[in-house]
Amino acid sequence: MIPIYITSTQNFSGKSAICVGLIKKLLAKGLKTGYIKPFSAHAKYFNGKLIDEDTVFIRDIFEMPEPVEKLCPVMLSDRVVEDIVKTGEHNYKEVILNAFKDISSNKDVMIIEGASNQREGWLLDLSPLKIVKEFDAKVFAIVPFENNLQFMDDVLTLKGKFEDRLVGVILNRIPKIKLNTVNESFRPYIESKGIRVLGVFPKEVVLMSVSVQEILEGLGGEILCARENINELVEHLMIGAMSVDSALRYFRRHSNKAVITGGDRPDVQLAALETSTKCLILTGNLRPNPMIVAKAEDMGVPIILTQYDTLTTVEIIESFFGKTRFHQKKKIMAFEEMMDKNLDFDRLYSVLMI
């Protein structure tokens, strides 16, 4: 059995998506592939139970027989963290090792969804490196680009930490203008330091998008129409607070956008509907004219009504823009396409000796 530890240097960098993509490929190769997420730092209450959304999602996609509690055995909620600090005692390491043992017993490959950043797990005395050693795993890391220095430092830090266990890295979210530089100078430099660059992924808007559902949940608003399109993805956020002529010109620049405007601006609402809009967000809890709701319903554009003012609405949505999960079909498909195009699977398999 080959354990592969997937990690990254920042939160929301595409880890779960890589896990999904890899499991799919490995299964297609005829390899019995298992999955475990040793602990969740982003546990959420669902129906009174703490769960890890990514794990539930991955279990559903691959119809895994193991219960979610086994696939992600430890939920690091605030309460759990406080208890650990208070008592200084816990048996999480054992729980995780047992779960891993159970799941991996009949597998050829185990995908371990590891820490989102290199600071995670120290409280449990399960730093990324410790876990990797416990499972005797190979490390595959994703490094998203912010700027030249952060990027190079992050890559080299990984090598420093995992040494020869690091089988390779994916350089992710590279702005188009930097693609040449990354491919032509950074990549050879990184390789020269003994780090395999298995893929260079350009920055794609669709992968940074949020769904209408996520916006609705984030704002806690009311949806007025076109509920069937709640899973549509929003790539841009635009605010409509100008004259209608300017609004029209402005809105035409982007497709797949959400438009935030006041409930008292029927002209701007109509201008938004005139262009490619995935969702209308009306602030100030002012109900729109029924004729506009009718038009939106007809066009399949959901209208969300929120009590917040425009500024607060923007702040709330921006706080999770680009930091959401990969739970929409469109996003997964886009990411799989990107993997097929830009990830050197042959090299990955040969390093892993699969």
Partner: protein
């Protein structure tokens, strides 16, 4: 639409015995209007209403009702329309409200109304309207309070309430109407259909419209342009300010459409635009009662020096020319008038003028071949013969086929004279400026009738190339085209462009600059940055390879810092051309009229002075030339102070090419060529930068 305007039988569905109900008021209006055909009240109770036998449903009057007026709750309307269709009804007015104004279900119901209209070949007005009146049939199928005076003005309104207000005002003024229509939600029949109906109606000679929005702008221009050559169309458009436009959106659930587009569209369609309801009356009154001016110059006859000068000033300001009277006319005037009178135009017959002096003066100016129409001003002095003068004017207006508009100023003493004039179809305006305004519109209209349509020139385009560029951008989810793509589009439509290339690295930029030669211009290439100079994304006069490298780094760094989320492709390196005069050409696809093309001089002339002209594409060379010469600063291109003239024909060519491009490719929603370098006459124009936005 003859069954709408001239039905031979009417059924009122929802007729009621209760005087509080709409169904009662409408039935009563039909009866009181003197309608000569059969009247069928429809009410399930089957009782007699207002002396007419009532029927339980439309089926029971099978094939006997031409026009149905529906005034029942909205939930029964669709079924009833179907029943009408199955039982030979030819036209329907749906008074009932409760449709798109209430939400999605209502909107769907309107779509069903339109479908049923097509299926059963019926004309359906409304829903949510006041109804329809024709004074010639006569029939009043509305709930308006009363029947207008019989006349030749056909009026349609997108506001039912304005209909009733206009109707109420018209009684006092003595203005008569042929047709009165409230358009309502326009589920089926709209303003364009009624324009055609008015055009074909022998009893209507002027079409009047109050519009909040137009359903099909392109068709409106086409139809109105044709019809306006035969009958004047006067329209008032509301929602022309930001606040007004919001009010239109909330009243009709549609965008009001841009003011600029309406202005251009009305100009191109020959529609006379009234700014206020008062203007609407002033203009239509003149058109409905007077013949058109025979020449574009007019005469003023006045008994008051001051008002005569005010009228002259107003005429001058509006561009209405005062005729130079022939020497014969002036000699005759001098012979007949006191020596203190002015025989020059404006003709001043002096304050003590009696009706005979007016008669001589008006007759002489009407006979003058240089005079196309006359404005008569009267102020009441103690000896002024107000009523006699009114009669003189009426008598003369019958003898001469030239328009006479009057301004009997005052009220208490001139009132009787004004009443005589109104009764005899001489439009009187309480102040002379309003008479001038109305006559000016008549002169404009007369000139418009002579305008010949010009064939639109077609240029050879590389359509396939343009299509491919658009498809490629759209397939990547991009709605805006950057300079590189836009440059190829300009080439594909036959425009001249400077050599340029998108370079994704400094090395590539240097290589290309070496190839085309220095100096070069470097500009940031990003689909997300539209205003490159704002982010410091443009560098002119780059003269060495080192300069190219520095500029590349500087421009990309600035842009990334200014817009961290922008996708940056690199820099466009372009050959720097010799200086020239600069124009801007822009297109914005209006939601109602389609491609609105703008032209102006570059830089401060557009940004500060807003000195621009607009037209709706497609248009001819003639229209392009008119548009260009509407720009106040165009003389800077034509050449001032000894400067050689710029290539006006080159600009016109470009305007036509752009007009053709945006007409042929309806997915272009915006386009800007900025700047367009204009060289000396014969040396052409070059598009330096273009930006395009597409509809997905």
């Amino acid at each position: 639409m003859k069954y709408l305007l001239y039905p031979e039988s009417v059924c009122v569905i929802g007729a009621s015995r209760n005087p509080q109900k709409l169904g009662y008021a409408i039935l009563k209006n039909v009866i009181d209007s003197g309608f000569k055909g059969d009247i069928f009240p429809v009410n399930p109770s089957g009782e007699e209403i207002l002396g007419y036998k009532s029927f339980p449903d439309v089926k029971s009057i099978k094939d006997r009702a031409h026009l149905a007026v529906i005034t029942i709750p909205s939930r029964f309307v669709i079924e009833t329309i179907k029943e009408c269709g199955e039982n030979g009804v030819k036209a329907i007015v749906v008074i009932s409200a409760g449709f798109r104004e209430t939400g999605h279900k209502g909107l769907m119901a309107e779509m069903e109304i339109a479908r049923l209209a097509e299926e059963y070949n019926m004309d359906i007005v409304g829903p949510n309207c006041l109804g329809l009146i024709n004074t010639h049939t006569p029939v009043n199928a509305s709930f308006a309070a009363g029947m207008p005076l019989k006349g030749n003005i056909a009026f349609m309104s997108q506001s039912g309430a304005l209909c009733t207000a206009v109707l109420d005002m018209s009684f006092n003024l003595g203005i008569g109407f042929s047709t009165f229509v409230s358009l309502g939600n326009k589920a089926h029949i709209n303003e364009v259909d009624f324009l055609s109906a008015f055009d074909n109606d022998p009893n209507s000679s002027v079409a009047l419209a109050y519009l909040e929005g137009i359903s099909n702008g392109g068709l409106f221009i086409k139809k109105a342009r044709d019809i306006s050559k035969r009958k004047p169309i006067v329209a008032i458009k509301s929602g022309t300010t930001d606040a007004g436009s919001r009010a239109v959106s909330s009243h009709t659930g549609t965008l009001a459409g841009s003011e600029k587009a309406y202005e251009a569209a009305f100009k191109q369609a020959g529609v006379i635009r009234a700014g206020t309801v008062s203007d609407l009356f002033d203009i239509s009154w003149a058109f409905s009662t007077q013949p058109l001016p025979t020449t574009e110059r007019i005469a003023i006859v006045t008994n008051a020096g001051g008002p005569g000068i005010l009228a002259t000033d107003m005429a001058e300001r509006k561009g209405l020319k005062l005729a130079s009277l022939t020497s014969e006319t002036m000699e005759e005037l001098a012979k007949s008038l006191p020596s203190a009178a002015s025989v020059l135009n404006p003709v001043d017959v002096l304050g003590d003028a009696l009706s005979d002096r007016y008669k001589v003066a008006i007759k002489l100016v009407l006979e003058d071949p240089n005079v196309g129409g006359v404005i008569v001003i009267l102020t009441p002095q103690i000896m002024t013969e107000i009523e006699e003068t009114a009669n003189v004017i009426i008598e003369l207006s019958k003898q001469y086929n030239k328009p006479i508009l009057t301004s009997f100023m005052g009220d208490a003493t001139t009132g009787k004279g004004v009443a005589i004039l109104s009764r005899n179809k001489i439009p009187n305006y309480p102040i002379p400026e309003r008479a001038v305004y109305a006559l000016k519109e008549m002169v404009n209209y007369r000139l418009w009738q002579d305008v010949q349509d010009e064939e639109i020139t077609e240029f050879e385009f590389d359509n396939e190339k343009i299509n491919n560029i658009f498809q490629k951008a759209l397939s990547k989810g991009r709605l805006t085209l950057g300079e590189t793509d836009a440059k190829q589009i300009m080439e594909a439509i036959g425009m001249k462009v400077p050599p340029s290339k998108l370079c994704s690295s400094a090395d590539e930029a240097i290589k290309f600059a070496d190839e085309i030669g220095y100096p070069v211009v470097m500009k940031i290439a990003s689909p997300d940055i539209l205003h490159k100079t704002d982010v410091g994304g443009v560098k002119l006069d780059v003269r060495t390879p080192e300069d190219v490298r520095d500029s590349f780094d500087l421009i990309t760094m600035r842009s990334m810092r200014y817009m961290p989320n922008a996708e940056i492709w690199g820099c466009n390196v372009q050959k720097q051309l010799p200086k020239a005069r600069e124009m801007i050409i822009g297109v914005n696809r209006d939601t109602q009229f389609g491609p609105l093309v703008m032209a102006g001089l570059g830089g401060i002339y557009v940004e500060v002075l807003k000195d621009v002209a607009f037209r709706i594409a497609p248009f001819s060379r003639k229209t392009a030339r008119e548009m260009l010469f509407e720009i106040k600063t165009i003389n800077l291109i034509r050449g001032v102070r000894g400067q050689a003239p710029g290539d006006i024909n080159g600009i016109i060519d470009t305007l036509i090419r752009i007009s053709q491009l945006v007409t042929r490719f309806p997915n272009i929603v915006e386009l800007d060529i900025n700047p367009l370098f204009v060289y000396e006459e014969g040396k052409g124009v070059v598009g330096l930068d273009m930006r395009l936005a597409l509809k997905p």
